[in-house]
């Protein structure tokens, strides 16, 4: 029982890849580091592994590290005192985690499935950005993208119906996960639970479940399991999302 690899044989090997081997490097903050200088990066980066539902950090915790998702999925959320939760984003391989304000994380983060994170201390990151100004540019660019995504999400939360919310969510996943060249029918993998989806879309799990069923009845999606969504006709789904 002490060797975790025996408990869950399916989990990713807990051996960190080197930066040179990292297959999400070009999508991550590290894209701003020249290939020949990846060694300098490796010197200051460490790796941490998380089991499903394990906390990475909590809101308000002192922010010592910034993270890069190497493997798996993370949910980022904010809570109200009575426990209501808003998930502000789902992160996957290559996504950056750990912007902070006033030296404390302004949100919590939890692993959804088996997760590997590359960690870099804030001091080290600061020094890296001084040594390699392109890293700072890249961080600004990533913040910009995140801000733009946040604005899209505000539009969704404030102004879309339950049906539109779920359709937008599915199309977001498609654009994020699926190569445009990929042959249809497309299949989406949803690592997060209905409860996560509900808290991301500002709905209840019941409404999410009902809306999934409604889309299935209309043959816009297939649901072989709750975690797998088949999309027989992507264009039809897009049309449904853009119709009022």
């Amino acid at each position: 029982m002490s060797d975790k690899s025996e408990i869950s044989p399916n989990r990713v090997a807990r051996t960190p890849r080197t930066c040179r081997e990292c297959d999400v490097r070009h999508r991550a903050l590290c894209a701003a580091v020249e290939f020949v200088r990846l060694g300098e990066l490796e010197q200051i980066v460490s790796h941490r592994f998380f089991d499903p539902n394990q906390t990475v950090f909590e809101e308000g915790e002192p922010a010592d590290y910034a993270y890069n998702v190497a493997e798996g999925h993370v949910r980022v959320y904010k809570l109200l005192p009575d426990g209501r939760r808003q998930i502000t984003g789902f992160l996957g391989p290559g996504d950056f985690l750990g912007l902070y304000r006033h030296d404390a994380y302004s949100y919590g983060a939890e692993a959804i499935d088996e997760v590997e994170l590359c960690c870099i201390g804030h001091g080290d990151l600061e020094r890296l950005m001084i040594k390699m100004p392109a890293v700072r540019d890249r961080l600004l660019e990533m913040s910009r993208d995140e801000l733009s995504a946040a604005q899209d999400q505000m539009l969704l939360l404030g102004r879309k119906s339950a049906r539109e919310k779920l359709l937008s969510f599915l199309l977001l996943k498609v654009r994020h996960d699926i190569e445009p060249t990929e042959a249809q029918p497309v299949t989406l993998d949803l690592p997060m639970s209905r409860s996560d989806i509900a808290d991301f879309l500002g709905l209840t799990i019941e409404t999410v479940s009902r809306t999934f069923s409604e889309l299935r009845k209309q043959d816009l999606i297939e649901l072989p399991t709750a975690q797998h969504v088949g999309i027989p006709d992507l264009a039809a789904l897009e049309a449904a999302a853009n119709a009022e």
Copy 2:
């Protein structure tokens, strides 16, 4: 009729202040420019004036300029094809405007009242950030704050009731506009319309109006006019906002 200052005598004088005289400089991006180098800033900054409800730029427009609000208030919004609107933020003096993605603004911006903006071309801004790295740091810091505010707003939009939304909005305004030392009772100035508030909070104007009336009946606020909110007891308002 050709001299605009005669049409609306109350408007702000349309004479730009110099950067040295600017009283919001320490809150703006320009805070990262040393006082003795403000001259370099003035060389590349121009000024534009807007009347109430005038468009600054539209979503999707090529993003040539970044802006700094010098005077007045601006609303930033996103639209759905059928006209539903989500206001993602209200900007006041010192706030930055014009982050973009893929060389196009990802949102629209309109003047709420009489507005003066300091404008800087993106090319000039880029060069300025190279000459003065502190400006880039400041921009990153401001993006971070904006992102954190966006996350708070997602929590509001997705998980709060109409009453909680309006209370949060009022407290946001208090924290932004009022010096903590200021004597109570406090009076808030709301330059934006009920329709703007509704589109910011993800509600309808009717619900906003009803909720204002409800808070007034409970003596949590006073409404001498629709644009002025008196807060007799700030602590009571905060208590109401934090109670579920």
